[in-house]
């Protein structure tokens, strides 16, 4: 259970990225957050694992306060939250397996990571994570030699290797072509259904949001402006979230057709 209580983030320079947000996400849900760039989607997601600290209010994950946590306590909370990024954030100069093993760092003694000797059981967990996203044959390939879709699946495997209770995905398909986008979104959906991992995804394509979001949260100017099912979210709702009429740029399929 993720619980935002009156949460606010004001960046130095005075930008209000999050304004008095109150939001609850129960265990096992698949939530898609939509909104224009600058609406506060990335800030919302990064507030959950404390990468962006709140300037007001509180976020708790399973009743533990992320806002108050520091040092090893914060790392412990983070270890149970996997994260997937728009630009994959892989270390390109090392192998796929080493990248996935990054997800085991929280369970690895520091001296072991220093000499690069992971425990056999951690390597096994990493291999199984690669198998779940169907890319285990690339385990010993350098990450630089992957296509975008492959790289994002390695990113998902790295998150899975943490054996997380929650997965956060910040625009996971924004750097991918439409067919690959669907593959990655289906992977995330399957993992959510199979393992009951709470999944929170930022998207800016509305059609993807409607297809994959059991629940859609609309953000505008740092405020929550919609919270409902994907089925209920019609064109009027999106117009409200975006504050303007919709264009072809807001749809993945229409963008792809051009």
């Amino acid at each position: 259970m993720i619980d935002f209580k009156d949460a606010s983030v004001t960046y130095p320079g005075g930008v209000h990225a999050l304004r008095n947000l109150t939001l609850q996400i129960p265990e096992g849900e698949m939530v898609v957050i939509v909104g224009l760039s600058g609406a506060g989607k990335s800030t919302l997601i990064r507030a959950i694992n404390g990468l962006v600290p709140l300037t007001g209010g509180e976020v708790t994950v399973d009743r533990r306060s992320v806002t108050k946590a520091k040092g090893s306590e914060l790392r412990k909370i983070r270890s149970r939250i996997g994260m997937i990024f728009q630009t994959f954030n892989l270390v390109k100069r090392t192998t796929v397996l080493n990248n996935v093993l990054m997800g085991r760092l929280h369970a690895t003694p520091t001296w072991r990571s220093l000499v690069g000797r992971y425990r056999a059981e951690d390597v096994e967990i990493a291999m199984r994570a690669l198998e779940r996203v169907g890319i285990v044959e690339k385990a010993y390939v350098r990450a630089a030699n992957l296509s975008g879709g492959q790289a994002q699946r390695v990113g998902i495997a790295r998150a899975l290797a943490q054996e997380p209770k929650i997965i956060l995905a910040d625009e996971p398909v924004a750097s991918l072509d439409p067919p690959t986008s669907h593959v990655v979104m289906r992977d995330l959906q399957r993992i959510n259904r199979e393992s009951g991992i709470t999944t929170i995804i930022n998207l800016h394509f509305l059609d993807l949001a409607k297809v994959y979001g059991d629940r859609i949260v609309g953000m505008r100017d740092g405020r929550l402006v919609y919270d409902g099912t994907g089925a209920e979210a019609d064109e009027n709702v999106f117009r409200d979230i975006y504050g303007r009429s919709l264009t072809a740029d807001d749809l993945l399929e229409a963008t792809a057709a051009r």
Binding site: R78, M83, L90, L105, S113, R158, A159
Partner: protein, 270 residues
């Protein structure tokens, strides 16, 4: 369709006035150069002096250009000492430089205080030339290769930490965010997200300072800090310029070969 293409051509801006910065800079440069050269204010440079004593130089030059190849056997121990000094100094200097570089980069330093102290110490180390270190260590631990090795270690630390910390400043920070988000601590983050990104550069920089160490050891020998420089100094003292010529030739070949190997290795790395 964009509306800009329909609006018609915008009015072209007037050409901004020409800046006086460039001519002023050139004038200042010429003035400062005159100030340095002139007999009145500066060192009083007189190029005529080159030719005045040309005859004396010719005798030395003629001997240097007739290298004494029989001297080879006597240079072997000194040459080996030079190479061994360079290897030891590179190994130790580069090992210390690695953690020092991580502390000296904004990206990986734990806090502003550590960053500033580490950078400050490294700046001081780099400010002094290797020859001065050689003189200091000869005074401290007496003449011999140990003084030279200590001087080279400080020199290597300064060079590598400067180059490597600037490389670390430019790494892709995405993997760092990924490691932090997974619950990794600071050391683990640096080891897994940053170190693999800069490893090829680190090896390349280490090869480069090894090259510099071979060269530097000739100068260090002049102050008694061991290596081929000692022998060179001795032969100059004996006015044995054919032997000096041979040592110069030998050094030239050694540096040339090491540079060839190092360049080809570095090209494969980065």
């Amino acid at each position: 369709m964009t509306s800009a293409s329909l609006a018609g051509p915008a009015e072209r801006p007037a050409k901004p006035p020409r800046s006086l910065l460039v001519p002023a800079g050139i004038a200042a440069f010429l003035l400062i150069t005159y100030w340095s050269v002139s007999a009145e204010f500066g060192i009083g440079l007189d190029l005529g002096e080159i030719f005045k004593d040309l005859g004396r130089g010719q005798i030395i030059l003629a001997d240097v250009l007739r290298p004494n190849f029989d001297f080879f056997e006597r240079t072997i121990p000194s040459m080996l000492e030079t190479i061994q000094m360079a290897i030891i100094a590179t190994a130790i200097g580069c090992s210390i430089a690695l953690p020092a570089s991580f502390l000296a980069s904004r990206v990986t330093s734990p806090n502003a205080l550590v960053l500033r102290v580490d950078r400050g110490v490294l700046n001081v180390i780099r400010a002094l030339p290797d020859l001065l270190y050689g003189m200091i260590f000869v005074a401290a631990v007496s003449i011999g290769p140990l003084a030279g090795i200590l001087a080279l270690i400080l020199f290597n630390l300064g060079v590598i930490a400067k180059l490597l910390s600037e490389t670390i400043d430019g790494v892709d920070v995405g993997p760092i965010e990924a490691a932090r988000a997974s619950g990794a601590d600071r050391v683990e983050t640096v080891r897994t997200a940053v170190y693999p990104q800069v490893l090829p550069n680190y090896v390349a920089f280490s090869l480069y300072v090894f090259e510099l160490n071979i060269r530097a050891s000739t100068v260090l020998g002049l102050v008694g800090a061991g290596g081929i420089g000692n022998l060179l100094n001795l032969q100059i003292g004996f006015f044995n310029y054919s032997n000096v010529g041979f040592i110069i030739l030998e050094l030239f070949l050694l540096v040339f070969v090491i540079e060839l190997v190092s360049i080809s290795l570095r090209r494969r790395l980065v």
